[in-house]
């Protein structure tokens, strides 16, 4: 981390490091961001609890990355296209996706990625770095149709090692695509620390290999993030080509609920990282700027908790998808060759069938 060249406005303790942009006090943008980040934090805790009690599948926590996701979500236009990876629930929620669908996805239901609110955003992408190419393809479509929309790809620090990312940066550069890549450098790729991923000291330097302008920003600092994102998005939107942002954060959670970071992560490092975390930092700043107080905070948390409870309830009450969905969305039309298998599948799940609920194997 070259702290010196890192874009940063708020110190870890919540103090402004420099004169803040006027919109900080002249708009409710910061409060809005705070609201989203708080909701993300609550959501995260709840999702982990649901997983621990067998009500959700494996889940990837967003703890520590709330500022990045919220800033991206808030700076994008509704009609822009997001190509997320699997850790961008907060961004998805800011973009209007109700939490129930996110739970649905992590609960093992494909319909979680079907919500109309996702518009043309890509669904969660699990195969590392592959989404960066989708963003380029989508960006090409926008450029081709001469729209002033942009595509935004998010990825982790580990993902920067996979060739796809280099290929995406390269084609974005040479075709001047309206796409912005945002690395959430949370210092770990499961158990592999940043230092074992690459010898380059700044991941933003990966842009240099492709002629793509890049900037490194404090990913725990919502103001710095907005500044960086505005530059990047504007560049892309105005037809000047792609941009790369490396946002430095820290994964305060396990990799997923299937992981135990204690096996590999020094306790001391985690302790230090908590001192930098984005939510407390913004909260302190808001109090300091007198944009926020305890009373409003309590009310907000109460409000958000109610919202969340309603979403969780809706999720838990959603009936399982019909088994035949696996046939019905394979192609636009069911090919006759699959008709027999579909019938078989449907019959098997009925009482007396080999896959009936409560059958021998369950």
């Amino acid at each position: 981390m070259h702290e010196s060249t890192l874009l940063r406005y708020i110190a870890p303790n919540g103090e402004p490091l420099t004169a803040l942009p006027v919109w900080c006090s002249q708009s409710d943008w910061l409060v809005e961001a705070y609201r989203h980040m708080q909701f993300a934090r609550l959501f995260d805790q709840k999702a982990i609890a649901l997983q621990r009690t067998g009500q959700l599948g494996t889940y990837a926590s967003i703890l520590g990355a709330e500022a990045i996701d919220v800033a991206v979500g808030m700076c994008m236009e509704a009609t822009d296209i997001l190509a997320p990876y699997y850790r961008n629930h907060a961004c998805q929620m800011v973009r209007g996706l109700p939490a129930r669908h996110i739970l649905s996805y992590w609960g093992g239901d494909e319909r979680g990625s079907a919500a109309a609110e996702m518009q043309q955003d890509f669904p969660n992408c699990i195969p590392i770095a592959t989404q960066t190419l989708h963003a380029c393809g989508a960006a090409f479509a926008l450029q081709y149709r001469q729209q002033s929309r942009i595509a935004v790809a998010m990825l982790g620090d580990g993902a920067t090692s996979k060739g796809d990312f280099a290929e995406a940066l390269n084609v974005a550069g040479v075709w001047k695509l309206p796409v912005v890549f945002i690395i959430n450098n949370n210092q770990w790729a499961i158990s592999v620390p940043r230092t074992l991923q690459s010898a380059v000291s700044r991941l933003s330097d990966k842009g240099l290999a492709a002629g793509v302008p890049a900037i490194q920003v404090d990913g725990n600092d919502i103001i710095a993030l907005r500044i960086a994102l505005e530059t990047a998005f504007q560049t892309a939107r105005e037809g000047q080509g792609p941009f790369l942002i490396e946002a430095i954060s820290y994964r305060l959670s396990d990799h997923t609920t299937a992981d135990d970071a204690n096996r590999y992560r020094p306790a001391e490092e985690l302790k230090t990282a908590w001192k930098h975390e984005p939510l407390a930092r913004l909260r302190t700043l808001l109090f300091r700027l007198q944009l926020w107080d305890e009373q409003r905070d309590t009310a907000l948390l109460h409000d958000l908790q109610n919202q969340l409870d309603a979403e969780v309830k809706a999720y838990l009450e959603t009936p399982a998808p019909p088994v035949t969905d696996m046939f019905d969305y394979l192609h636009a039309e069911l090919h006759p060759a699959l008709r027999e298998q579909r019938d078989w599948c449907e019959v098997n799940q009925m009482p007396g069938g080999s896959h009936a609920p409560g059958g021998a194997d369950e």
Binding site: P127, A138, A141, L142, A168, V171, Y329, P336
Partner: protein, 327 residues
Amino acid sequence: MNNAITLLEAVNLALNHALRNDSDVVLLGEDIGVNGGVFRATAGLQATFGEHRVLDTPLAEAMIAGLAVGMSSQGLKPVAEIQFMGFIFPAMEQLVVHAARMRNRTRGRLSCPLVVRAPYGGGIHAPEHHSESTEALFAHIPGLKVVIPSSPQRAYGLLLAAIADPDPVLILEPKRIYRSVKEPVTDDGKPLPLGRCYTLRPGRDITLVSWGAMICETLKAAETLAEEGIDAEVIDLVTLNPLDIDTLLQSVTRTGRLVVVQEAPRTCGIGAEIAASVSEHCLLSLQAPVRRVSGYDTIMPYLKLEQHYLPNTADIVQAAKQSMEAL
């Protein structure tokens, strides 16, 4: 436009038609622009339709496939060329984990109406990796349609159908017969149906099924067999996934005998699926075991030995005769 043209020219004609009539169609690939493709399948198209519609890409197949996924999710209809099928492997991740799954994954919210074209197969004395037939790898992937035309007319109609198809289609073009088979093709923009076999020659005694370049040897074998009084039905499989097994079953139910002819290595090839399905459904009608004429389970040799690897007419005739004698 009723002059006889080659399969390659038919591909070009179909692409031209699609570009002309649908502004959502874009072509992308290595050397497809000014150069018109290393086989000239896209010759003249960039000059006609412009650089924004016929795109010379940087050299990266994962990128080509990933771009096509992204483009098609936005409703464009990208037709990507993989220069040779031997170089399709870097594109496989995108094709298998994304193109084939986007509709299912989003329950229809997004889809990937993309086409990937790749010349495949041996017999043109090309260097290493330019002669393989690995179609079976793709036919095993749910969500990916795999189509192989073996005549100019079918190349034209099937490519248009693939472009019109709302889902991803892999079209493998048998490069050995790119220029050798000619027939008149009407440039009427009419797609041919995907997902069904084409019976090229009706016959009573035995069914021969093949696809791609081997169709030529198979038809020749049928002629030879006819001279010897054996009336062979020849079926062009055309769509490898999903399989039109009904047409095959109907034929075998009549003839009682089946030889599958494939250029690819035998083990786990398409021939295995056909033999398995037919044996499963027609065991009682079968008067002889389904025989497979195929490449060996070895690596496709360089040009000095490639003719020894590729099945030929004599092999097919021999297998058919053995089938006629069996039981």
